[in-house]
């Protein structure tokens, strides 16, 4: 029997594996297509893609000294499920599929489902966060769509990036002097002394993974963005302000308390070649947003948010802190000890935000078949952690909160969404002259 190929477990693979203590390590996407997907073509494309990216058909092996991936055999049936479903049951099927967790020891690290209902397909995908992050997930879906289109037009050549998965690509855009500084940024930025929790019930047997969703309609979101444009602020800043304001309201935090929310940052901004450089992997950092008390209205909270995020925005090393510290720990210590050491020093944020951004229907169209709706979201957080993820498509904004919880938690999250929606509408009303 031929010896199986081994792959190096990169820094972020190990870190994401450590995060199994805080969340389910899955990244999720759902795309609703306005027609039926050709499963035969999709299967060809999936096999071609999986072949080109070995980590996607590898099992992860924990080891005391140094963990590694082992490339495994697989069939397309391990990856793809196709099912005809009743429209009334579609959302239940989607929820059931996307809330599953792929064990690290599986032969494949991503799964896809096509649910066909009333002549329309819904594509669902989950992938192990150890393989890649939201940034590369978007890239993966775009390449999948482009390769599908090419295959449908008789050009079955799979084009997907296959380069290095190493974390240190994030230094490629820096000049030698800055590179030297960046490689010495040992500061532990996870050490935030903020004990504010998102109110959730205590752990119980009824808890299960759930992905709570809420939409902001295109008209409202358009007005919201227009006001932001008038003030010269990004959607990320606006949403951070609304999120902060809503947290104080829902969590009943004292108005003068300091609340800190880490916002995920795509480190590909530091990589020469951006999203197409290297291979599929994780390149995600933190940007801390800390407000010392809530404003009387969203505008005031927005000013506080801006005053905090500007420090990060002006920092050319944004998101690059702590990487040398992690590298050092994984280099000088055996894996088992380094994981203990990092666990002691790492404080997982209790409340977070991830703006995954725009899902471009054109780029995601399968041979002309466009998605009319969809979203992406991060891992399902275990109590007491939570994160708000944002994606926009066709002018609409989808907010998701993926947590392990029970019915009461679901109701709480829905109430929180209502508060966010109320605050967005209030902000639009307060700034109506610019909408």
């Amino acid at each position: 029997m031929a010896k199986k190929q081994k792959l190096t477990a990169e820094l972020w693979d190990k870190m994401q594996y450590l995060f199994r203590n805080y969340y389910d390590r899955m990244v999720h996407a759902v795309l609703y297509y306005d027609g039926l997907i050709d499963v035969a073509i999709l299967k060809d494309v999936l096999v071609g893609t999986t072949e080109k990216v070995p980590v996607l058909h590898s099992s992860f092996h924990d080891s005391v000294i140094n963990p590694y991936w082992v490339v495994e055999d697989y069939s397309v049936n391990d990856i793809l499920t196709v099912k005809e479903v009743d429209k009334a049951l579609l959302e239940i099927e989607i929820e059931n599929f996307i809330t599953q967790c792929i064990p690290v020891t599986d032969n494949v690290q991503f799964r896809m489902a096509i649910f066909n209902s009333e002549g329309k397909s819904t594509l669902c995908m989950i992938v192990n966060h150890m393989c890649f992050d939201g940034g590369d997930f978007k890239y993966f879906l775009k390449r999948l769509a482009a390769n599908y289109t090419a295959a449908a037009n008789g050009a079955p050549i799979i084009d997907i990036k296959t380069g290095t998965r190493s974390y240190d690509q994030v230094y490629t855009k820096l000049d030698d002097e800055d590179k030297e500084i960046a490689r010495n940024l040992y500061k532990n930025i996870s050490q935030v002394k903020d004990a504010h929790y998102f109110p959730l019930t205590p752990d119980s047997d009824q808890d299960k993974s759930m992905i709570n969703r809420c939409k902001i309609d295109a008209e409202t979101f358009s007005k919201f963005r227009k006001i932001g444009k008038h003030y010269g602020v990004t959607v990320n800043d606006l949403m951070l302000a609304v999120y902060m304001h809503s947290l104080y309201e829902y969590g009943e935090y004292p108005a003068t308390d300091t609340v800190t929310i880490p916002c995920m940052v795509d480190l590909r901004r530091h990589i020469e070649g951006g999203e197409t450089a290297g291979g599929l992997t994780n390149h995600t950092g933190f940007m801390q947003c800390s407000v010392e008390g809530v404003g009387k209205n969203i505008n005031e909270t927005l000013v506080k948010v801006l005053q905090s995020v500007r420090k990060s925005k002006h920092d050319k090393f944004m998101g690059l802190y702590s990487l040398p510290l992690l590298k050092l720990a994984y280099t000088i210590l055996p894996y088992y000890i380094s994981e203990i050491a990092i666990k002691i020093g790492y404080l997982n944020p209790l409340i977070g935000m991830s703006n995954i951004g725009l899902l471009d229907p054109e780029a995601l169209s399968l041979n002309g078949l466009k998605p009319y709706d969809g979203f992406m979201t991060g891992a399902v957080k275990y109590k007491p952690y939570m994160q708000l993820a944002l994606t926009s498509m066709n002018g609409e904004l989808t907010m998701t909160i993926a947590i392990r919880g029970n019915h009461e938690d679901r109701l709480g999250v829905q109430k929180f969404f209502e508060i966010i929606k109320k605050n967005i509408n209030q902000f639009i009303e307060d700034n109506a002259q610019y909408a």
């Binding site: 003030y231 602020v233 505008n299 927005l302 000013v303 801006l306 002006h314």
Partner: protein, 282 residues
């Protein structure tokens, strides 16, 4: 607005020499002004002239700031000089110690067999100073594991130095190796004090362990030196262990009593509230 800010800054920066640093500062100030203006707009100020004036006022006495900035630039080489002086001072000290070592040894004032301690002593003292500095610096951040470890290492170095000094001064006296047994008792003892001072959650467990280890080492030393008979001297560590367990049990009982004690609700109506004595009760 940006153009108005630029114009203002172009004029203002004439008071200081046109250096590269001044240009960077000018660009940074423009960003600050623009951000201030952005904040004003979001807060609801709509009059652009008012925003401009507020932004400029936010700079305070900008002419004085610029002059201070320039002074700081010209003083920077002085700071660099200070750094160079510190580095040179360290180098000189190292050379001086080596020179003293060679001079004393070569002239026979101190024998070669003893003078090596001058070098080793200097290294150990430097190590102690560095470790204690690290301990103090990190302790300021209210994290105490590293400071306690650094402090323990510094104490170990101090004991090693003391042992070497005693070795040279008195030859190799009987029981000199006790220094290292005393070292363990002292290091753990001082660390225990630090555990209480820093309110360590493990202080009780450390107390129990300390009592057992310290008693065992004292018993060994006393036994070897004949100060205490092996029997019934063994009662010392045994009693320390029992005492330690007693302290632990007592601490646990107190903790559980505190936990179970009914909490006095601060918003509960006081029993004396019905009459005026409530208001005169102090």
């Amino acid at each position: 607005m940006t153009e108005r800010f630029k114009k203002y800054l172009e004029e203002a920066f004439h008071v200081i020499p046109p250096t590269k640093a001044a240009m960077d500062y000018r660009k940074a100030t423009l960003v600050t002004l623009e951000e201030y203006a952005q904040d004003c707009r979001i807060k609801g100020v709509t009059d652009e002239d008012a925003i401009y004036n507020l932004a400029i006022e936010s700079l305070g006495d900008f002419k004085a700031t610029l002059i201070a900035f320039n002074d700081d630039l010209t003083n920077k080489p002085k700071r660099d000089l200070k750094k160079t002086l510190v580095k040179s001072g360290i180098a000189c000290a190292v050379l001086a110690i080596i020179a003293v070592y060679l001079a004393l040894s070569a002239t026979g004032v101190v024998s070669w067999g003893a003078s090596w301690l001058i070098l080793v002593g200097a290294i150990l003292l430097t190590g102690i100073a560095v470790l204690e500095t690290i301990a103090v610096k990190i302790a300021k951040r209210r994290t105490f594991i590293v400071p306690r470890l650094a402090n323990a290492c510094a104490l170990i170095l101090a004991f090693v130095l003391a042992y070497l000094l005693a070795l040279i001064a008195f030859g190799n006296p009987r029981y000199s190796y006790f220094t290292f047994l005393i070292m363990v008792v002292s290091v753990l003892g001082i660390d225990l004090i630090l555990a209480y001072l820093t309110k360590s959650k493990l202080a009780i467990i450390e107390t129990v362990l300390y009592l057992i280890i310290a008693a065992a080492l004292i018993y060994v030393m006393c036994g070897i030196s004949g100060a205490l008979a092996w029997h019934p001297g063994w009662l010392l560590p045994a009693c320390a262990a029992i005492g330690g367990i007693g302290i632990a049990v007592f601490a646990l009982v107190r903790k559980s009593q505190k936990k179970n004690a009914p909490r006095v609700k601060k918003n509960e109506i006081a029993p004396t509230a019905q009459d005026d004595s409530y208001y005169t009760e102090w």
